[in-house]
Each structure stands twice: as structure tokens, then as C-alpha cells.
């Protein structure tokens, strides 16, 4: 076991990573509750946004423009998918809806590999100006990007919870999570509420893509499949609780990074989300009641 001092820097990076997973997880839960779609393309959409930002930065566009472009691209693609395929699949099983987003993932993945070819060994990177500013606690350097990542996770979790609880649109989303048909009969504009959820989720994927491109790597494959780590947190929360998603995301991020200095486990640290999700799901899946499956699943 390495001395405690070795772990300290990884607490900071782990919390930053956990913050991004949390904001991704919150986006996924909100979309799932409003539309019944588990958005597996979340990572790919974020990657597309981040790569667009990189291209703009290469063309020496100002920083704020690239960040806005990243979020706008992610939000637009997500909203586009939602309006095109959301209604067509609205009555299908959640599993079918989730698999359909795998289709979008593959399209975006192929597209990114075509447009931003990785062969040739050139490594891209996206750095935010906040990487160079920061402060130290004891011996540990904390960059402002890490602070932003954790803060974004906290703020967006609280804001989303408040939004769902106190606003009209949020109430409509919660109603749709219970029953789409009944909500529609009550006069709620179902399509418009769904569109709002898609747009919000897309914007969150853009923010997550931007932060992860800086904190982890700007690479289509890495970013596309990092969504699995957020999925672990979402699964532990059973696609329902935002608070639980947040807590699980922090644990996943923290444990992942804290394993880095442990030599015997370091190679296996990428398994953290899978192991946590597997244990969480299997423990939580006890005492469940069988429900009638829908036709056409």
C-alpha cells in the first residue's frame, strides 16, 4: 500500500471526474424519465461537440465561441434525433429505444472517424484556459478546470432537482415519467416537453464532452465509451433518483482515480464502474415484482 500522500492528488482528479460523470448521469436520468429513452449516444454526441470545438480552435476562433459551438452541436444533434425518432419509437419498449440510440452512436462514431481521422498518430488536445490557473491545498495543486468540473456536477444536480420540483415544465416531465398517455390527456404538450428534455440532455452532453476532452483525452473512441462510466452511476440509481446518481458518480470517479497509485490494481482501475454497477444492480435487483411486459418489445 503506498503512503497516503500518493493518494492525495488523485482525490482531486477523482472528484473532478466524478463531477462530470454526475452531470452526465443527471442528463441521462432526466431524459429517461421524460421520454423513456436511455440515451446511449450521450458520449458520442459529446465527442462530436468537442471535436467541432477543436476544429474551430484550429481555425483560431475565440475560446468562448468554440465552447458555445460544442454545446450547440451536441444539443442540435440530440434534439434532431429526438424529434426524428422519438415519436416513431414512443410506444416501444425502453430496451428498443435504448438500442435505437446505439444506431445513432454508430453513425456518429463512423462520421467522427471519417472527418477527424486518428491514423497518423497525431494526438489532438483541447485545453481550457482554466488549466493554467488554480491554487494549492497543502501539497496538492488544484486547477480551476477541476473545480469547474466538480462545481458543474454539484450545481447542475441541484438545479435539475429544483427544476423538476418547482417549475411547470419540470412537473410535466415528472408526470410523463409516470404515464405519457394520461399526461397527454391532461393537456400537457407532450411533444414539446419531450423536445425540451432532449435539448437539455444534449446541452449537458456537450458540457460533459468539453470537460472530459480536457480532463481525460480528446479522442472519439475514449469519449464515446466514457458514457459507460456514467451509465454505471445511472444504473445504481435505477434510472430514477438524481441524488443517488450524483453520489454514485462521485464514488465511481473517486475510486477509479484512487486505484491509480495501487500498483497491483492500477491496471484494473478501468473496471471500477463495471464492478460497482454490477454489484449495485445485483444487490438492488432483489425483491422485485414481475410486471407485464408490453407487446412489441
Amino acid at each position: 500500500m503506498p503512503p497516503w500522500a500518493d493518494f492525495e492528488p488523485f482525490i482531486v482528479s477523482g472528484l473532478a471526474l466524478g463531477g462530470v460523470y454526475a452531470l452526465s448521469g443527471v442528463g441521462l436520468v432526466v431524459l429517461y424519465r421524460a421520454t423513456g429513452v436511455l440515451y446511449l449516444a450521450f458520449g458520442a454526441v459529446g465527442a462530436l461537440g468537442a471535436l467541432t470545438a477543436w476544429s474551430l480552435a484550429q481555425a483560431s476562433a475565440p475560446g468562448w465561441l468554440t465552447w458555445l459551438a460544442c454545446i450547440a452541436v451536441s444539443a442540435a444533434v440530440t434534439l434532431g434525433y429526438g424529434t426524428l425518432f422519438g415519436p416513431a419509437l414512443a410506444k416501444r419498449d425502453p430496451l428498443v429505444k435504448a438500442v435505437a440510440t446505439i444506431g445513432l452512436t454508430l453513425i456518429l462514431y463512423g462520421l467522427m472517424d471519417l472527418l477527424w481521422t486518428t491514423s497518423g498518430g497525431q494526438a489532438r488536445s483541447l485545453t481550457l484556459p482554466t488549466d493554467n490557473s488554480g491554487f494549492t491545498i497543502g501539497q496538492i495543486t488544484v486547477t480551476d478546470t477541476q473545480v469547474i468540473a466538480l462545481a458543474a456536477g454539484v450545481v447542475l444536480t441541484v438545479a435539475t432537482a429544483a427544476f423538476l420540483r418547482f417549475t411547470q415544465l419540470g412537473t410535466a416531465m415528472r408526470a410523463m415519467a409516470n404515464d405519457r398517455e394520461i399526461t397527454a390527456t391532461l393537456g400537457v404538450p407532450v411533444r414539446r416537453v419531450e423536445a425540451a428534455a432532449w435539448l437539455g440532455c444534449g446541452a449537458l452532453s456537450g458540457i460533459a464532452g468539453l470537460l472530459l476532452a480536457d480532463l481525460v483525452a480528446l479522442d472519439a473512441t475514449t469519449l464515446t465509451f466514457l458514457v459507460i462510466s456514467s451509465l454505471a452511476a445511472v444504473l445504481i440509481a435505477r434510472l430514477r433518483s438524481i441524488a443517488l446518481t450524483f453520489a454514485a458518480a462521485l464514488v465511481v470517479g473517486l475510486l477509479h482515480d484512487l486505484l491509480t497509485p495501487v500498483v497491483s490494481l492500477s491496471n484494473y482501475r478501468d473496471m471500477t464502474p463495471f464492478v460497482i454497477a454490477a454489484i449495485g444492480l445485483l444487490v438492488l435487483s432483489r425483491h422485485r415484482v414481475m410486471v407485464q411486459s408490453r407487446e412489441g418489445a
Binding site: 462514431y109 462520421l111 473496471m271 418489445a297
Partner: protein, 353 residues
């Protein structure tokens, strides 16, 4: 059971069986002579991935369980086979059987807890497990002739190739061997579908509570399907090991599991032909495009569009859609000529709403 035993000679002359037999003979005897070695290798891979698609097709199409981790299962089969082929001098067929059984055991161990989950949760837990297996394999590596339980030696200068059966050492011969193994696996699945498990799976796919109410042991039959799919995929892994001679963990990335599900859905999860179509989509098309100098990324995009198309308009996939569309086209061509003639002779009848 009755139906299989009661297979009469007259059944053998049915057009479907005749066409299938003719196709198989063509693939086994003529095809290897016609193709360059490049395509022989490709078609061996098609045979391997048809088996993988077959296993996944049983889960998705027959029972309604979606697995997002089949590439990892394939990797386990290949790992076990490679380890046994390096460690022992057993006949290849025995190694294939052992690789299948070992993979089946892993499948059952994973399936026992995972099958308590349903639908979306089961699909995601298989994705998680596949991710975990990929991480372990990246650290453990595939056997390369080293010593010890893991059989990997990073410092080895001359890595020996994984052996093939003595009777199928050349590429065309190994292709025939792979096709025959694939036929055996298709037969195994067919025997399941035509008998009690197949009926139980069909009931479970329609509605699990109804199947339970009808007295079907849903837990047993779901686990059975999981075990069967794992066995077939494990055997496919064993065939893959001999086909490519050298195995690396980068050959089995997590995204392959996702692409596999995509091609199985596109090929058609409800029919056995769909598995062949899926194998062709997954291995033959990339080789063809590579030969033409087209980027494989276009194929990924095509698979993505295919998944969306299948899920929104054609749930039975290409294996069902293409023959139906062709039949419809033929009908329209025939009927089109006639109706033009008819339109000249008689006024069009009023359309009944």
C-alpha cells in the same frame, strides 16, 4: 421431438431443403476454388461470426434477451482454446468442445445472477461485464506460448502460431472446416428451436408472466438459452483462434459487441439465415470495401442507419425483408403488366374505403 424424428424422405425434396443443401455443397466444394486466399480468409471469418451472430440471435430473437457483451464471450472462447492448444496436443475438435464448455460455464456463472434482471437492465449489465472482461484481457493478454496458467510471456521473441488441425492446415481446408463446424452449430440451434426449449423460448418472448402461468420454468429456459449462446460463441472463438493464428486483446474491443448487436438486428434475429447475413455484413463487406479502398467508417455509419431502419420499420431484418420485397417487386412487375392491360379494357372499379 416428434417432428424431428418423423423426418420423412419426402421432406428432403422440399424446395427449401434442396436449395439449402445445394448452397452448402457450393460453399464447401466450389467456393474455395473460385476465391483468392484473401477472400478465403474473409469467408472463414464470416463462418466464425455467423456462429457468434447465431448465438446472439438465439438470445435476441428467440428469447428476447439483449446481450451487449458477445465480443467478450467470443474472446473468452478464443482465450481458452488458445491456452489448450498451446498446452496440450489434444485433437482440435476436442479443444473446440472444451472451449465451448468452458465458455458455457462462464456464461452460466454470469447468467445466474444477471438473469434476475430483465430487458434494459440485463442489456446494460452485459455491457458492463463485457467492459470488465475487456479490461482484464488487456492486462492478462492472450496466450502466446509462454508458461504458467496464463501462458503469456511478454519477452518472447518468436511467438509460435496457434496450430490448426492436421487435416485442415491450408487456408481453403480450414475454411471448409470452419463451415462444417458452423453447420453443426446451426443444426444444434435448429434442434433446440424445433423441440421443447424452442417452444418455451417463444412463450417467454411473447410474455414472461404468461409463460410462467403456463407452467414453464422461465428461469431454467432463459439460463439454457444463455448457456447455449455461450457454448456456440465459445466454439466460434476456438475456430477463430486457429483461423488467425495470433490473438491480441485489441482484437476484441467493447465496441465490437455493439456492432455485433447491430448486424444481428440488421440481418434478422428471428431467422437462422439472418445469422449468415449478419456474418457477411460484419466480415465480408469490410473486406470488400477494403479491397475497393473505401473507408470502413462508411460501414459503421451504414450499420447505424441499419439499426434505426430495422427498429422503426422492419423488425425482422434483411433476411426477412429482402425476400419479401423481391416477391412484392415480382408481383408488381407481373401484376403491373396485367393491370395496364386490364385498365385498357375495363374502367377502373371504384375504390372501396
Amino acid at each position: 421431438m416428434r417432428r424431428l424424428n418423423g423426418l420423412r424422405l419426402s421432406d428432403l425434396t422440399r424446395p427449401r431443403i434442396l436449395v439449402t443443401t445445394f448452397l452448402l455443397l457450393f460453399v464447401l466444394l466450389v467456393l474455395p476454388q473460385l476465391m483468392s486466399l484473401y477472400y478465403v480468409d474473409t469467408m472463414t471469418q464470416v463462418a466464425v461470426y455467423s456462429m457468434v451472430a447465431l448465438g446472439l440471435g438465439v438470445l435476441v430473437g428467440r428469447v428476447g434477451l439483449v446481450s451487449l457483451g458477445q465480443a467478450a464471450v467470443l474472446a473468452i472462447g478464443a482465450w481458452v482454446a488458445a491456452r489448450l492448444l498451446f498446452a496440450t496436443s489434444q485433437p482440435y475438435l476436442l479443444v473446440l468442445l472444451e472451449a465451448g464448455l468452458a465458455t458455457m460455464a462462464v456464461g452460466i456463472i454470469i447468467g445466474l445472477p444477471a438473469l434476475r434482471l430483465r430487458g434494459l437492465y440485463l442489456a446494460l449489465i452485459t455491457l458492463m461485464l463485457a467492459g470488465g472482461i475487456t479490461v482484464v484481457l488487456a492486462t492478462v493478454n492472450f496466450p502466446n506460448g509462454g508458461h504458467g496458467f496464463l501462458g503469456y510471456d511478454g519477452g518472447l521473441l518468436h511467438i509460435p502460431p496457434i496450430r490448426r488441425p492436421s487435416f485442415a492446415a491450408s487456408d481453403p481446408a480450414y475454411f471448409r472446416f470452419a463451415v462444417i463446424i458452423a453447420i453443426a452449430m446451426f443444426g444444434l440451434v435448429l434442434a433446440h428451436i424445433k423441440t421443447r426449449p424452442g417452444r418455451a423460448w417463444a412463450a417467454i418472448r411473447q410474455s414472461e408472466p404468461a409463460a410462467l402461468a403456463a407452467g414453464i420454468n422461465t428461469w431454467l429456459y432463459k439460463l439454457w438459452a444463455f448457456a447455449l449462446a455461450s457454448f456456440i460463441t465459445g466454439v466460434a472463438g476456438g475456430v477463430l483462434a486457429g483461423a488467425i493464428h495470433y490473438l491480441y486483446s485489441i482484437n476484441f474491443p467493447t465496441q465490437d459487441s455493439i456492432t455485433l448487436l447491430a448486424v444481428v438486428l440488421m440481418g434478422g434475429a428471428y431467422s437462422l439465415w439472418g445469422a449468415v447475413v449478419a456474418g457477411l455484413l460484419y466480415q465480408f463487406l469490410p473486406s470488400l470495401l477494403n479491397n475497393w479502398g473505401v473507408s470502413a467508417d462508411w460501414l459503421t455509419i451504414l450499420f447505424g442507419i441499419g439499426v434505426l431502419q430495422v427498429l422503426t420499420t422492419a423488425p425482422a431484418g434483411l433476411a426477412d425483408q429482402v425476400p419479401r420485397d423481391l416477391a412484392r417487386l415480382a408481383r408488381r412487375l407481373r401484376g403491373g403488366g396485367r393491370s395496364k392491360q386490364a385498365a385498357k379494357d375495363t374502367p377502373a372499379p371504384e375504390r372501396v374505403p
